[in-house]
């Protein structure tokens, strides 16, 4: 048995410090029993989280009832236009976004992102059906959605491999935004004029690169990085 040198109370064999004054236990004759059972359990009791299945069911029921109600209403109210497709499409998109991740806990992030992007594409497709714009959908909207999805997927893959420094994360996100906007102008130009004449997106890319350069330098030079960390309490 050990006693606290500060308080004089006898301590448990597994105590590494005195629970009263936090003085460490240093007894060469009786080292702390690191492996013995503790006097109290170490597992905490917490409120059980809401069952995911029930939450998925609730969300599904809400979205289905919204979609059905609007679909039926569309038959009587302004029946000449399929306006309910907007609501039904949104319900389908929201369902794909939220319900599969709740039901399948081990759904890979990449697969989830692909599903989410496809859901957005489907929603915009339904809108294009109502507006009669098959042309702009296939040549403009879908490429932009796929490009955005590909860039987010790329970022997800990069970030998946452990914790990145906040500098690297910021640099990559700024770079991705620049790349996305460059692509947006490419598709817009090709859709409108048939050729690519980079204009406003170059300005955005320049700004992004200008933002990235100092971040990369700080990240690369250890002394600078330490200084920034110290100054910003990172």
């Amino acid at each position: 048995m050990s006693y606290c040198v500060n308080c004089g109370v006898e301590l448990d064999d597994t105590a590494q410090s005195c629970p009263l004054c936090h003085t460490p236990v240093l007894n060469p004759n009786k080292p702390v029993d690191m492996w013995g059972p503790k006097p109290f359990p170490t597992e905490k009791g917490e409120v059980p989280p809401v069952a995911r299945g029930e939450l998925a069911l609730l969300i599904s029921a809400m979205l289905v009832s919204v979609a059905v109600c609007c679909g039926v209403l569309n038959l009587f109210l302004r029946a000449e236009r399929a306006w309910s497709l907007y609501v039904i499409g949104a319900a389908v998109m929201l369902w794909i976004w939220f319900v599969p991740p709740l039901l399948l806990r081990r759904l890979p992030v990449c697969l989830r992102l692909v599903l989410d992007v496809l859901a957005v594409a489907l929603y915009v497709f339904l809108i294009s059906l109502d507006l009669g714009g098959g042309n702009w959908y296939w040549h403009l909207a879908l490429p932009i959605i796929l490009l955005g999805g590909a860039i987010v997927l790329g970022l997800a893959l990069i970030f998946r491999g452990g914790r990145r420094s906040i500098l690297t994360t910021t640099t990559l996100i700024i770079g991705a935004i620049g790349l996305f906007l460059l692509g947006v102008e490419l598709f817009v130009d090709r859709f409108l004029t048939g050729s690519w004449q980079p204009g406003w997106s170059l300005i955005v890319v320049t700004v992004c690169v200008a933002l990235m350069i100092p971040l990369v330098i700080v990240r690369r030079v250890p002394s600078l990085r330490e200084e920034v960390r110290r100054r910003f309490h990172m």
Binding site: C4, C7, G8, V9, E10, L11, D12, A15, C18, P19, L20, C21, H22, P37, K38, P39, F40, P41, T42, E43, K44, G45, E46, V47, P48
Partner: protein
Amino acid sequence: MPKHKKKKPDWYPLDNAGVLYASIQKEKYSAIYRFSAVMTEEVDPAALQRAVDQVMPRFPGFRVRIKQGLFWYYLEPNDAPGPFVRPDIANPCQPVRFKEDNGWLVRFYYYRRRISLEVFHALSDGSGALTFFRTLLAVYLRETGVDIPEGGGVLNIHEPPAREEMEDAYSRYAGKKVLRGGWQKTAYPNTSEAEPFYTLNVTMGFMPVDKLKEVAKRYGASITEYLAAVLMQAIMENQAAQRPHRPRPVALAIPINLRGWFPSKTLRNFILTVRPCIDPALGEYTFQEIVDRVHHFMRLSVNRQEMRAVFTGNVRFTANRFLQLIPVVLKNPVMSLSYRLVAARPYSATYTNPGQFKVPPEMAPHIQRMEVILGQATRPSPHCASISYGNVMEITFAGTGVSSETERRFFTHLVKEGIPVRVESNRTK
């Protein structure tokens, strides 16, 4: 449910202490307390579950769930499966959630050689819960092959429950005259920085009863009075260390078991708290003066007539026609506020001592010691509780505050008085 049971009332009202505990229950306050018995052998969970299943029907006051009516909470028999014994957790006395755990208001845990019972205070006070626990331990020991006779505080589980065990003793003994305590001054709250959710810091100290009695006698006080005085001094030192511009009084809430003055076999609540108080603003007190003050205050205020007049007021409060007509959803915030003003703010801490846990001689060799823990207070400050078994006095500090100064001052004071103290804690840092 069999037909003949329909004759019995299938619900009953809470007593006036229960009404309060049910109304003020929330996620950041726990009216749950725990009694633990550390056995000499490792606990057998299957035997413990069998014992729980046998004992619960004998104690209808514990086999209940709480329901929210329009005007009051009420209790009704709980026929749901359970309660089930569970492996113990690091944060005992979690706040009760009326709709979880099949509505059970008692919990059973086991950890190595320790059997723990947690009870929601609306059902029973410490004395009632200890009768239940004693019977449970006896049945558990029988399940493990030990021959334990009835009697000596162990109830016969094959007998039907006596009517008197379920009585509302407050109403039975309520008199005609009401004594209203005046407005009490706000006491020093003894708080420290709060720990995150799901943390209850528990520190237990163990010491020999004979040694403690000897020291208490030296000061001319009982063990409860002496320990209350040590606790008050520890809290006063905490306050003095903060160098307040105007020191606040230090007051304790000490529950008194009324069964000693008003004979009753009830297993429900039958307690009243008294409030010994020291005002450091009046000047310095020596330790002997603190002990004397607590001792004389307890002797003066704990008497049949005054206590009856005080709880008569509480009974009248719940029987008030006007109050009865206020819906419970409106009543809860009012009760919560009045608890804060009347029962929390004028006190620095609670100190409860259910006294000696006595068991039949056949049981004694199988129990090593007893422990008691009070649930978290409305603020991050520790509550203190003690229980003795054989020659071991166990004192627990439990709270959600980070600081361990109160318990340090308390236990080091005992050490300085020559009482050997052994300390165990669930603190991880």
